[in-house]
């Protein structure tokens, strides 16, 4: 009987999928354009977005309150060596941090904000190792064998060494356990498989306990069976909060702002960080040009090439083009036709934003 249930589920799913496909194909695909909406100015939109009136505040609060009764159970499971994985709609940041700061006071807690764009996992591990060392030291019985190694500062050690330190044998049950809270373990900064492998290795260390949250419906696809069954060892908890994703949604572009293609200086900075110093310098030339000639259409490619070559940033047109392709792919730079027919490059950012970006880059 249960088998039939499962089949029906699956059948239902595929049927829904094809129905949806069908609707799109046969139905007159709506030809309305986004531009038909009377879009308000981006600035106004952002201002409004930042103070959207919250709904159901009271209910959300009582929902959060109801989860507090689970705290003791969560601590129990953490103590027994499980990891906690929270899911359900709504930001769980406040919930988990409240849990950590009220119920986990006897452990050190490190919070990782997975919703940010880039996270240096090695730095995290170094911090964890330092916390653990301090904790073990204060527990009078400092394992003597660690002393020799401790002389070497953590930040020069390899990842394997650090993980081995975190996975050291446990003296007493609760001593030397560091809790790691990971908001959005499926977030953009942690989503790649290498990072997930590291997180899994961290989770399997004897001195570490993990409390994490996921928001993406397909998050479990990040993990293979080894990670799920032997490393993370999750206990799942469905805790919808319906709290707004304020911080988590910070770096997502507003869909109605310039049709969703607008780039903020923040995201531009993040993209630039990942480029080579030479590419950054080429971008800088362009930015400086744009700032000093605000009225012009943009910088002709030839000019950019000459200047970049003079400064030994590029050796040939080919290298410059590869940089430019990179910029264009990330919408950092756009081209438009100059009045005299020449192709010009410009950065689609306002001058204040551009100035701030330059200042950030120079730091």
């Amino acid at each position: 009987m249960e088998i039939n249930d499962g089949d029906e589920d699956e059948f239902g799913f595929s049927r829904n999928y094809f129905l949806a496909k069908d609707m799109a194909a046969s139905g007159k695909k709506s030809s309305h354009k986004l531009s038909d909406i009377n879009l308000v100015d981006e600035q106004e939109l952002r201002a409004e977005a930042s103070n959207v009136e919250p709904k159901h505040e009271k209910e959300i609060e009582s929902l959060m309150e109801s989860y507090k009764s689970l705290y003791s159970k969560w601590v129990f499971e953490l103590r027994c060596g499980f990891g906690l994985l929270m899911y359900g709609f709504g930001s769980k940041k406040a919930l988990i941090e409240d849990f950590a700061s009220t119920a986990l006071t006897e452990y050190s807690v490190v919070v990782i904000n997975g919703y940010l764009q880039s996270i240096n996992i090695k730095q995290v591990v170094i911090t964890l190792a330092e916390l653990l060392r301090d904790q073990l030291k204060s527990k009078r019985r400092t394992p003597s064998r660690n002393l020799s190694k401790a002389q070497q500062p953590f930040n020069t050690r390899s990842m394997d060494d650090l993980l081995a330190f975190l996975d050291g044998s446990q003296v007493e049950e609760n001593d030397g356990v560091v809790c790691v809270v990971i908001h959005n373990i499926d977030g953009p900064g942690l989503r790649d498989s290498e990072t997930q492998q590291y997180l899994a290795q961290i989770a399997s260390c004897s001195h570490i306990r993990i409390v994490a949250s996921i928001d993406h419906v397909n998050a479990p696809l990040l993990w293979d069976k080894k990670m799920v069954h032997t490393q993370f060892n999750w206990c799942w908890y469905h805790v919808p909060t319906f709290a707004p994703y304020k911080v988590e949604g910070m770096f997502f572009p507003l869909i109605l702002a310039h049709g969703g293609s607008a780039q903020s200086a923040k995201t531009a900075a993040i993209v630039l960080q990942s480029l080579t110093p030479n590419a950054q310098s080429v971008f800088k030339i362009l930015a400086e040009h744009q700032l000093s000639h605000p009225d012009e259409e943009g910088m002709p490619i030839d000019n950019l090439y000459t200047v970049s070559r003079e400064r030994f940033l590029v050796s040939s047109q080919v290298t410059l083009n590869s940089h430019l392709t990179e910029f264009k792919d990330h919408d950092l730079v756009k081209t438009r036709r100059h009045s005299d027919g020449q192709d010009c490059l410009y950065i689609p950012l306002a001058s204040e934003a551009l100035e701030k970006l330059l200042a950030d880059m120079n730091q």
């Binding site: 209910e59 129990f76 397909n218 069976k225 994703y245």
Partner: protein, 737 residues
């Protein structure tokens, strides 16, 4: 345009530090508060002492406990005790599982070890190196035929490599204990990204116990010349070659074969599919260097049955699961995952759920540490125990009268006895079922069913056979039970169908199993002499030709054997009826038996894909607000914005036109009912705003809410953003539940 640079939200209420923290990739929330943890740790140290307590220490321990009771609150104590009990019980289960798996693999491991020694001798006999050659930092030149690498291909017979992680770890330990130098490599060491360097570094790390920046095989060669290493075989175990990067793997093999004279490496590779796997991954010139040998591990089913037998059927830790939980775990194993690892994990979660919810579960810790009922006689916990124990439904149902410690202790020992009997009968059934390829897991599920047991003991079974009344419900139930091929029924029937020789073996097995239950044992003994003679006869008959004279004898013989079969079957039925009492029908079972399937399921299998969609589609149910419930299917403007949006999205195909979506969102939000509803619900301060809303709920505000809802849907991964090709559409990713 400056605001575009700042995040769309900066909530005014939050302090600047928390905003800072929100933008930090990571930060330390707080450090361990030393005071409290100190107290806790002393507490747990004391309880630990109690658990380990030896008779001489008892007085002391009692004193300690008295202080401890004063010291910490009721619940606090419990929790510590239960955490400890969990650790004791689980470590017991875990070590049992490890032992069982090791036993399953012992033969293969020994076989592999013999082969390793043999191969090593072959390598050593063909190599004679002068000292100056040995110390050079390059390989010795030899002809191709002698650059062979002995390779053991271990067929795991299991696509799921997780189940074999432990096997290879154990194999490593086994070989190490026999004097080999062993390194375990996994597919993570053979990635195209880190190349040959990755696996070499991992190899050096494991052999030299140091991480080196410059990984070089010559270091390994000089390590091997060191005292203590020289003369021992070097074994490299690669867990799963199918998941390794082929090119790195072949480089690795070529390198090892070049150096095989200096470092006599013997490779062991886990193969999940067939022997062809190595041919698919490695080019032929690399394959030339391998000198393969095949080994086969036990199947997952065998291991599964062995684990269940040791953990859930034989007395192990005292922890047990109910019929429903067992059914769930069986289905989870069969449909969800199919790995032993996942089954063990399910068991562990069941275990932790039990200890976190059942207040009396700490008793298990004492019982499984061979202390028996010592714990409760210690006085300390007696009140606690009594307070809870006599409220247990199973106790209330079965007993009334005095509540004291003795009754409780008696209950516990009775429980232990019954459990033991149950286990023995299940094993006997399993022995019979083996001839019919019945799996222990299935048998276990049926043996745990309290209703079937009630049915069996209610005597209807015999009555039905005498006087079948086809209309009674019991009869139907019985029929259904038999027809559906109840596993117990099948096992019983198999007893009748066995050839005499096998029956003889089976009875012998039963005798071994039932040594501790005198009544059954004796009955079996009565049977066995009859059977012995039968057996002798039959073997004699095999040898002599069947003549006419013997035909009459064999007639007699037939009748005799018939009687034996009948007796054996009846005996087994009696055992099932009288001794196989499932744990759920024994008083006080709540202490030992985990029953809450829902809790187990929700903790074990998160289902974000479905649950998050349900959250959105039925937000008012979860929020339990008055304003939105009772609306049926109509969308109310008071609902959560994202919930409205997702409900609206259901009306679209796989592509959603942004313009249409926005318009329908807008009309929902501006729905005239809103004003009335809101007026009655909202506080006066907000009222002012709402009253002026029709004009004031500006286009900008609606658009902002729309944007935010889209962003939230994007975070949940339920929609994909517009592409350049389709700038006016978002794509739906999930289609209903």
């Amino acid at each position: 345009m400056a605001p575009s640079a700042t995040p769309i939200d900066s909530s005014p209420s939050s302090t600047s530090t928390s905003v800072d923290n929100n933008l930090q990739p990571f930060f330390v929330l707080h450090k361990a508060s030393s005071g409290k943890s100190e107290r806790k740790s002393t507490g747990s140290a004391k309880t630990r002492r109690r658990i380990d307590l030896s008779p001489s220490l008892q007085m002391n321990a009692k004193k300690l406990e008295a202080t401890r009771v004063e010291e910490c609150g009721d619940d606090d104590c419990y929790v510590n005790l239960r955490v400890e009990a969990f650790e004791i019980v689980w470590s017991k289960i875990e070590s049992t599982i490890k032992n069982v798996l090791r036993d399953v693999n012992t033969n293969v491991f020994n076989e592999i070890h013999r082969w390793v020694c043999q191969s090593f001798n072959t390598i050593m006999s063909s190599r004679t190196i002068a000292f100056h050659e040995a110390t050079q930092a390059f390989p010795i030149i030899a002809d191709a035929s002698s650059k062979q690498l002995f390779t053991g291909l271990v067929l795991t017979k299991n696509m799921e490599f997780v189940d074999d992680l432990l096997t290879f770890e154990e194999l490593g330990l086994h070989l190490r204990s026999q004097g080999c130098r062993v390194a375990n490599l996994s597919s993570l060491d053979f990635t195209a990204k880190s190349g040959i360097n990755g696996c070499l570094r991992s190899l050096l790390r494991q052999f030299l116990m140091a991480s080196l920046d410059a990984a070089d095989i010559s270091i390994l060669a000089s390590w091997y010349r060191e005292e203590g290493n020289y003369g021992n075989p070097v074994v490299v175990i690669v867990e799963d070659i199918e998941r390794c990067c082929g090119s790195v793997m072949s480089d690795f093999i070529l390198m090892l074969s070049e150096w095989v004279f200096k470092v006599p490496v013997i490779l062991i590779m886990g193969v999940a599919t067939t022997l062809d796997a190595s041919r698919n991954i490695l080019p032929s010139d690399v394959l030339q260097h391998l000198n393969p040998c095949k080994f086969t591990l036990g199947t997952p089913t065998e291991r599964m049955d062995a684990v269940i037998e040791a953990v859930l059927v034989k007395p192990c830790s005292g922890f047990s699961v109910s019929h429903k939980v067992a059914l769930f775990m069986r289905n989870y194993f069969a449909r969800q995952d199919g790995t032993l690892t996942s089954f063990i994990r399910a068991l562990k979660i069941a275990c932790v759920q039990h200890f976190s919810m059942e207040p009396l579960s700490f008793i298990l810790g004492g019982i499984s540490s061979e202390q028996n009922e010592q714990v409760i006689q210690d006085g300390l916990l007696l009140q606690i125990v009594l307070k809870h124990a006599f409220d247990l439904p199973s106790y209330v149902r079965n007993k009334t009268g005095e509540h004291n410690g003795e009754i409780f202790t008696h209950g516990l020992s009775e429980m232990k006895k019954l459990q033991k009997h149950w286990g023995i009968v299940v094993l006997c059934l399993y022995e019979a079922g083996k001839y019919d390829k019945i799996r222990l897991l299935d048998l276990l599920c049926e043996a745990l069913d309290p209703e079937l047991h009630n049915f069996r003991t209610s005597d209807t079974l015999t009555k039905i056979e005498e006087d079948p009344c086809p209309f009674s419900s019991n009869y139907r139930y019985h029929q259904q039970y038999l027809r559906k091929g109840g596993f117990i029924g099948r096992a019983l029937r198999k007893v009748r169908d066995l050839p005499i020789v096998q029956l003889c073996k089976l009875l012998q097995r039963w005798e071994e199993l039932t040594v501790d239950v005198i009544k059954i044992h004796e009955k079996l003994k009565e049977l066995s002499p009859v059977l012995k003679s039968e057996n002798d006869k039959s073997s004699k008959e095999d040898m002599t030709n069947i003549s006419k004279r013997q035909a009459s004898r064999s007639q007699l013989y037939m009748e005799d054997t018939k009687a034996v079969y009948e007796k054996a079957t009846i005996l087994m039925e009696c055992m099932v009826r009288d001794y196989m009492q499932p744990i759920e029908s024994i008083p006080l079972h709540e202490v030992f038996c985990f029953k809450n399937v829902e809790k187990l399921q929700s903790a074990l299998i998160g289902d974000p894909r479905r649950r998050i969609q349900v959250d959105l589609l039925e937000s008012h149910i979860i929020l339990r607000c008055r304003c939105c419930s009772g609306s049926g299917n109509t969308l109310l403007p008071t609902m959560h914005d994202t919930s409205i949006m997702y409900n609206l999205a259901q009306e679209h195909g796989d592509l959603i036109n942004l313009h249409d979506w926005y318009q329908s969102f807008k009309s929902t939000v501006l729905c005239p009912r809103r004003k009335r509803k809101k007026k009655s619900k909202q506080s006066p301060s907000k009222k002012r705003k709402i009253l002026t809303e029709p004009e004031n709920l500006s286009e900008a505000a609606i658009q902002a809410r729309f944007c935010r809802a889209v962003t939230e849907l994007q975070i949940t991964g339920l929609i994909r953003m517009p592409t350049k090709r389709r700038p006016d559409f978002v794509q739906r990713v999930a289609f209903e539940l």
